[in-house]
Amino acid sequence: MPSVGRNERRREGPEKLTGRALYLDDHSIPGCLHGVTVRSSIPRGRVKAVHFDPAFPWEECVVVTAKDIPGRNLVALIEPDQPLLADGVVNHREEPIALIAHADRARAYEALKRVTVEYEPLPAVLTLDESAALKQVVYKKDNVIKSYLIERGSVEEGFARADFVVEGEYRVPAQEQAYIENNAMAAWEEDGVMVVTGSLQCPYYVLKAMKEILARPADKIRVVQTVTGGGFGGKEEYPSMLAGHCALLALKAKRPVKMVYDRHEDMAATTKRHPALVRHKTGLTKDGRLVAQDIEVVMDGGAYATLTSVVLSRGTLHAAGPYECPNVRVRSRAVATNTPPNGAFRGFGAPQTLHAVELHWEKIAAAMNVDALQLRRVNLFKVGSVTATGQLLRESVGASDCLETVVKRSDYAKKRRAYDAWNKDPKKPTWRGIGLSVVHHGAGFTGSGEVYLASRAGVALTRDGGLFVLAASTEIGQGTNTMFAQVASDALGLPMDWIQVETPDTHKVPDSGPTVASRTCMVVGGLVQRAATRLKADLEAAYGHLPRTRAELKAAAAALCAGRAAHRVEMEFEKPKEVTWDDATYRGDAYGVYSYGAFAADLEVDKTTYEVRVLKATTAQDIGKAIHPLFAEGQIIGGCTQGLGWALLEEPVYKDGVMVNAQLTNYVIPTSLDTPPFDVVVIEKPYSRGPFGAKGVGELPMDVPGPAVAAAIKQAVGRLIPVLPITPERIAKALS
């Protein structure tokens, strides 16, 4: 019986459910020291001196500064701009300056209090607006980290033909990933190899950074993932920094070192979603057809480039929404500010720009006096549509199916009318509204990214009959372990419980790329499927037929391995021949394929307190094929809940360049009582290049709630609020 499409039990479920799964801080490491970080207390300036209180017994501690780095003082990722430890200059609050390790965790924190840093402050820019206005140049020559331009047709000609032209400006804030396990890492030297282990999404990103920091080849560094308590992008790039810190301390101490951030440090110092400002000018004919979209995007990258160029790219490529328009211009840029660097968070730039394009429909609909639904129906992508980058959508376009499913199941049209009547009744204690959104989300890396990555994954059969999936893609809760076993099982034609998934360990598994960008199932799952298919053929050739029992598997393995320890099959990513992309002009197939999603938010606003209560969430998402339907639904409900948090509750508040609500007490994420019942429909429009037809599902759910909630609140209170989150305070302000 095939495993794909069945709700197989979570591979590591029993360990997680009994408290036996070992997250980094659960590992007992003999002789381990605890590392802590001296951080900048100003947003920008020169470090004149670092003073260590002579009254403190420093001989109990190990102290590391930039001069202890054996290789380059750099967190290698894209731009070589971010030091591992500030050396003379700080560019943001909480920037690491020095490291301290002590055998006793409490004493390590005590030591931290005995360090004072003397600065010469420099003028800083603390907001996107200050940076864009060049109040002060703080990054390269013009504060611009990266910019892009997409052009299709001529927006000037489009506006000349338009019957309606509607402009809007939208702002979205940063967002904290708020995984429940804070960043945590340990490092030690073992037979000349620096072993780094911890909570992380991308083992080979950490390896790349460690090679530069330690000036060592890959075989002298080993990166191993421990059970990871959530990531959501927040453990994509930051673990490279933390791994570097641990390794430096471990080198100097000649002992293992563990660094486990507390919640405050994790929230204040590590990456967030990029805040963004998006401006739209849209031209339409009187029958509602789009003729011009002129879009400007500005994102706040923070003090260093980290992943900003790629986040901006994805935001830019999704900015025009899932609609066909003959004349499109998207101008985007990311600017630097003296705040902790922003980075990866589920959706990776797309939720920011999709929020704007989707909410803008409400403004257009009001100007044209029609329902936004009608306008979406006229313009929505279908097979044969051409995107802003000139990509022809050849297959697997479920946008309309998603939208119509949601419209029907949420009872959108009827509720829209009923709520208009409800809102006219002064005796009702609430105002009500229902709002829609529909989006596309590119699966896998942007543009030619997958080609540059050239990921590899595989399967191995050991001579004693052990079957392993080999990939660096990490299980962070989404179900990678189970999904890989399902895909391999069906491709091999062997039972799923014969298959193990190897721990992501750079000394054991090939580089299947980072666990990001909704690519693990579609791209890496595809490599696993190909490798397993090859192994099946090899097994049949060596043994005559597929083994039917474990004993036969052992015999077949012995025959196939012919004395070697294992028979290993690896596959490398191959670009589908129909996909062409030009990085220089930003023209062509931006992504191999897109997933689609639609959402209806049905909510009410208390007339006295302005609190918003979401009554029901209805969503339909086209993900090609659900390898594991229950886990896919889990991704959808979980991702949409993060989107609801962003829409209504979550806002990092910055003062003097640092998050001042860096606690779960006042940075509020949704609880079980804030979360509505979900009606989820998975739509399966198979993608011919995905394993069993699968596309991506990880990020898509994050895109849809924001604009639907804002549209519903507009119906409820009669005002379009162009800023997230829509708190009672913002509603009060809009109504005053």
Binding site: K16, T18, R20, G634, G639, Q663
Partner: protein
């Protein structure tokens, strides 16, 4: 000063260290019961939830001296991987755990709730019972399903 004596998962334990040591540190560091997790250290996330005399409490906010003589239960008191409790089985069947870091605390809150409510547990009561346990992965619906699935089985057994 005499040591603090309490019962943890049915075993008598004594602690001679500083009286204001947090219960979570006593559990994780002294007893090596690392199933109980620390997510925030300030009683907001609920990952460190344990039962004290049957009631769910954030063990990061409790000094050991305040639980002298009490019965403490942690996730390790439920089932084992090869023999899950009914509630744990519900979580496995209904995908109530994703990354798993909130799961031990979530299980303890749900366990206390089912003990009190049994088959009378419903969507609203479960949501209330776990509202002090933050989960960033699931959006809670599968957790509620998991608890109710276990509650229904409890009910079946009673009949």
């Amino acid at each position: 000063m005499s040591p603090i004596v309490l019962t943890v998962n049915g075993k008598r334990r004594s602690f001679g260290g500083p009286a204001f040591t947090r219960l979570i540190d006593f559990l994780r560091e002294t007893l090596r019961l690392t199933g109980t997790k620390e997510g925030c250290g300030e009683g907001e996330c609920g990952a460190c939830t344990v039962l004290i005399d049957g009631a769910p409490v954030n063990s990061c906010l409790v000094p050991v001296c305040s639980v002298a003589g009490a019965k403490v239960e942690t996730v390790e008191s439920l089932g084992a991987p090869e023999k899950l409790s009914r509630l744990q089985q519900g979580f496995l069947d209904c995908a109530g755990a994703q990354c798993g870091i909130c799961t031990p605390g979530m299980l303890m809150s749900a366990h206390a709730h089912l003990k009190a409510k049994g088959a009378k547990a419903d969507d609203a009561s479960v949501r209330e019972a776990i509202s002090g346990n933050l989960c960033r992965c699931t959006g809670y619906q599968h957790i509620v399903d998991s608890v109710l699935c276990a509650a229904r089985k409890t009910a079946k057994r009673k009949r």
